[in-house]
């Protein structure tokens, strides 16, 4: 499974594309892409969002379901999805 991740232009925050083509903060609210064709089509839509100055640098990430939760496969993307694993103030929103 894949999802599209990007940074929102205005505040730089990590966002995921949802099924309406909007951009949401929580990985749980984003759209899961199961086929290659689906992924390609939505990535084109994401490029459109770049041109419309909504997001920056969208790309596909691999996601696995782990105990009912979505979890990016790569540690980098897990950190992007859930926040830093460290901090003076609590920051992470999940288990990296």
């Amino acid at each position: 499974m894949q999802m599209i991740i990007a940074n929102r232009l205005t505040d730089g925050r990590v966002v995921f594309m949802d099924d309406a083509g909007d951009w949401v903060n929580e990985i749980a609210d984003g759209l899961l892409l199961v086929s290659r064709q689906d992924a390609d089509e939505h990535l084109s839509a994401a490029q459109q969002a770049v041109e419309e100055n909504r997001v920056v640098d969208p790309y596909l990430i691999d996601v696995a379901a782990d105990a009912g939760r979505r979890r990016p496969v790569l540690v980098r993307e897990r950190i992007r999805a859930f926040g830093p694993s460290v901090g003076l103030v609590p920051q992470s929103r999940g288990v990296i």
């Binding site: 205005t10 730089g12 950190i79």
Partner: protein
Amino acid sequence: MYRYDEFDHKLVAERARQFRRQVKRRLSGELTEDQFKPLRLMNGLYMQLHAYMLRVNVPYGSLSSRQLRKFAHIARTYDRDFGHFTTRQNIQYNWIKLEDVPDILEELAEVEVTAIQSSGNCVRNITSDHYAGRARDELADPRVYAELLRQYTILNPEFSYLPRKFKIALTGSPRDRAAVALHDIGLRMHRNEAGETGFEVLVGGGQGRTPFIAHTIREWLAPEHLLSYVESILRVYNMYGRRDNMHKARIKIIVNQMGLDRYRELVEADWEQIRDSVLKVPQAEVDRINAYFEPPEYECLADIPDELNDVRARIPEFDQWMSANVAEHRVPGYSIVNISLKAPGLPPGDMTADTMDAVADLADRYSLDEIRVNHRQNLSFVDVRQLDLFTLWKKLKLLDLATPNIQTVSDIICCPGLDYCNLANSRSIPIAQDLSRHFVDVDHLALVGDFTINISGCMNACGHHHVGNIGILGVNKRGKEYFQLTLGGSSDENASLGDRLGRALPQDEVPAAVETIVDTYLAIRLDGERFLDTYRRAGIAPFREAVYNPVQARAVA
């Protein structure tokens, strides 16, 4: 401390207004990301993993309490209540919104701080010894010349589109606390045979994927020629720097490819043309800047070793702190106090807004209003009366800022790594946290003594891993984080690059490996040897054996 003149004010205010217009054009879609990126980088604004990151300069590491309070205010108002002090004496904010940046830059300009040239291919923040102007062994305050260079290079069109970024560091002491040999240009004050103070000029040092210790391009340079000589080095670099390949574009590559002698020839030939031009620094200008760095009015006090020794004898914890964190001052009755931002388990260099405010208050009261940021990601109070040391220690302790670990195993340099940085291969902060929690026994820290551990999350080496006594480099192997150890690095006046210890280790094996290295050193050191001395004498073999062949190593021992 340097105060802006009318030109500085005008320039900085204009720049903030210009960036406000650029941000507006980006948000309205008039500028694409590709067009905007170089503009934002010129103002210290990066896009990191979670948000925009803003890097703010602390020129030559000197801060007033008013400026630190402003940093706290920015952290509280526009970020998540904290900031991160870096190895380049800067502060970084990790959670900045693009739309807020123009306001932030204007707020910073109010206290004479900018983000100009904190990124991009230009002359970056000029760094210096954090004891500048106060160290007992210093020949002259290097910040005067750092400021001169700052003024000369800021927004100078000739240096705004260099092949790559360019870093300059200065020290006025024979003891190098500013890692000058790891910079594109390093300037070390010393006296020539006639007894005149000038600079040894080093060129082509740097870390990153191809590390080099800088070479001496000129043994002695009169201070009046500083600008022209630096200009000639930069001109030759501008001409020959590899703009076609960013991995080969730093001056260190050019110097090492063409050879130091050839580089020197080119520089000297260019310099002959301009050495007596308008770039010759008039003494009046040096005096003018010098006036800003005049030491404060010190009270007429004497050193008080007896009184301090009494308290030290009674309170071992204070004694440990005095030994590890307090340094000599050039003026009798005063000391330099290092404030550790490395309490066990905390991310090195991070500081909350409330702590910044509290430190600013303490600086007002106990350090004549001045704070320094050092490249090991700690702060220093440089003008503390010895009479106040005990009280200050108690107050720092309440803030968890009195860990007696300066220049010890738990005083770790650490870059942001994969928790924040877009370029990272692995995390670095969790390794620092593991190690600082592992080495909490302050008696043991004192026993081990002078030690540096430096951690980077990728080859770019922002965490100075090449020059850590133990360097730790995060790598990514088939999607997993591993850590490559190097030994024997140093960034002082006898700088050296670390040697690779062996195969990379998973995170959970790093603390044990570091402990093994430390124990091996303790077992084989001779009287008075620091880790670095033992390493240079005994070589890597005993450490390698101990880490990778523990059974055999024990049998031999």
